[in-house]
Amino acid sequence: MRKVAIVGGGATKCGKREASWRDLVQEAGKAMFERLGNLSPKDVDSLIVGAAQPERFVFQAHVAPMVAECLGVTPRKVLARAELMCASGQAAIRYAWACVASGLSDVAVAFGVEKMYMPDMAEAQTNMTCVLDREWDGVNGLSAPPFFAMTAQRHMHEYGTTKEQMALVSVKNHHYSTMNPLAQFQKEVTAEDVLKSVMIAPPLQLLDCSGITDGAAGVVLVPAEDAKKYTDTPMYIVGSGQASIGNAIGNLSSLTEWVPLKMAVQEALKTAHITLDDIDIAELHDCFTISEIMEYEAFGWCDKGKGGRFIEEGQPYIGGRVAVNPRGGLLGCGHPLGATAILQALDILQQFRGEVLKGRHVEGAETAVAHNLSGPANVHSIMVYSR
């Protein structure tokens, strides 16, 4: 296996965009190639497109060749779409990484895009509901908000976690997203704002939930030995972990133990030859406030059930135990499904390069993890990046 580097990338502004799916693709493609002076679209030999549900959101299939067309790339090694719902972008990175690591590909683009705003939001919610096992779970009206609401309910019931503690996750991530020009949400929120926001599915309120978001992003992967051809400051893929337990709710033995996340964490640390203490930045999948709290615990930064206390103590802020979501997270930046993991990778690269605003810069950071969950938290995917 060859060591692989990410040498650059670009992205759109995320949010409720006045732009079509293919407009987003073109914006992100232009941003990506313009920041990589020594790379022409014709040099790209592989393109993997992370896209969760273009068939439902924009009624378009066969999207990888459409992205190739928009970007002016002509892949001759691997051209494919990657779908792993909320982790589709990370699936694209993992495929592109495998292509380059194996020696098959020399310049691979991992791209991600999602256009989620639709004229009828009930239709968008319908799309999100078929992410779960549609015939056995979706049929009950179960989608992400009610699933994570029940997860939060069990965590509160078993460990005494409070809504106030959950709100603090939203406060932190919105704070960092005010310093991220790509973020969907650019305003500070207070714990009171979160607790006063409209109820979605109790105990989760609007500001406990990540947004419906349009956005696109791409990053370029090359063999580490070629990285300096394109940039003086590449970042390297040094490890990864992924684990899953099916899709139906029935596979979960408990809502408050994310067994596959623990497995993915162990694998990621082992393959990267690092310990938890080596991680300076953690981009965690905060699709809901409770998710981030459970992730502090599953990674091991705090004891089981103490995730609420961990945020209360300010430990996941820059300068604390570990900087969690200094990008602004999904809560602050939005969650354009296929693009989210690409945006995480891109932001980590910019952190390493010192290209982010001072207030959210993790100075001297050497190692970062990017995590995504998908479905009802029964798939967890982690990449480990190092400068």
């Binding site: 009828d120 939001m121 009930a122 239709e123 919610q125 319908t126 999100m128 509901t129 078929c130 779960l132 096992d133 549609r134 015939e135 056995w136 779970d137 979706g138 049929v139 009950n140 009206g141 179960l142 989608s143 908000p145 009610p146 609401a149 029940m150 997860t151 309910q153 069990r154 019931h157 409209v198 109820m199 979605i200 599915a201 109790p202 105990p203 989760l204 609007l206 139906a248 709710i249 029935g250 979960l252 033995s253 809502l255």
Partner: protein, 157 residues
């Protein structure tokens, strides 16, 4: 410009909820090999498959055991009473086909050691508690298909 014709078109079809946007599964023998589940449900029995070879209880019902790949599966009754493991109420953001039901309660019920999601009928969020006893309810759609839900067993029962 004068040579360009402008015209309006009308798409007069009334589109019914298409199959691919219907959350309820097709349940007759022509469309699924687990139609027995729905036949049983029509008679008031919530059932699933159990592997005769490795004895694993499988949910949702299967035609091949994912544990040992055997296709010697048998139907077993899960009973009609379960315990409420978790619940919430959909207040905003329901999908098509559920919008008029809002608000409605969704829960996870523990039944015969299985956890599965379910609609909880005739329930108010504030009146439910973790650990409540739930009883099977069978609902029939307009076209005769059936599905399971649960309802709270009132303490006076």
């Amino acid at each position: 410009m004068s040579e360009v014709e402008f015209g309006k078109i009308k798409r007069s079809e009334t589109i019914k909820l298409p199959y691919m946007l219907d959350f309820y599964p097709l349940e007759d023998v022509k469309n699924t090999r687990i139609s027995q589940f729905f036949k049983n449900l029509k008679e008031g029995h919530l059932t699933t498959t159990k592997c005769r070879k490795c004895t694993k209880l499988l949910w949702p019902p299967r035609i091949v055991c994912p544990n040992c790949l055997s296709n010697e599966l048998e139907w077993v009754d899960l009973g009609t009473e379960g315990e409420l493991y978790a619940f919430t109420e959909m207040k905003l953001g329901a999908p098509l086909g559920f919008v008029e039901d809002v608000p409605f309660c969704i829960g996870i019920v523990k039944i015969s050691d299985l956890l599965t999601s379910t609609r909880i009928d005739n329930a108010k969020y504030n009146e439910l508690r973790i650990g409540d006893k739930l009883r099977l309810k069978v609902v029939e759609l307009e076209d005769g298909r059936v599905f399971y839900r649960f309802k709270k067993v009132e303490s006076k029962e």
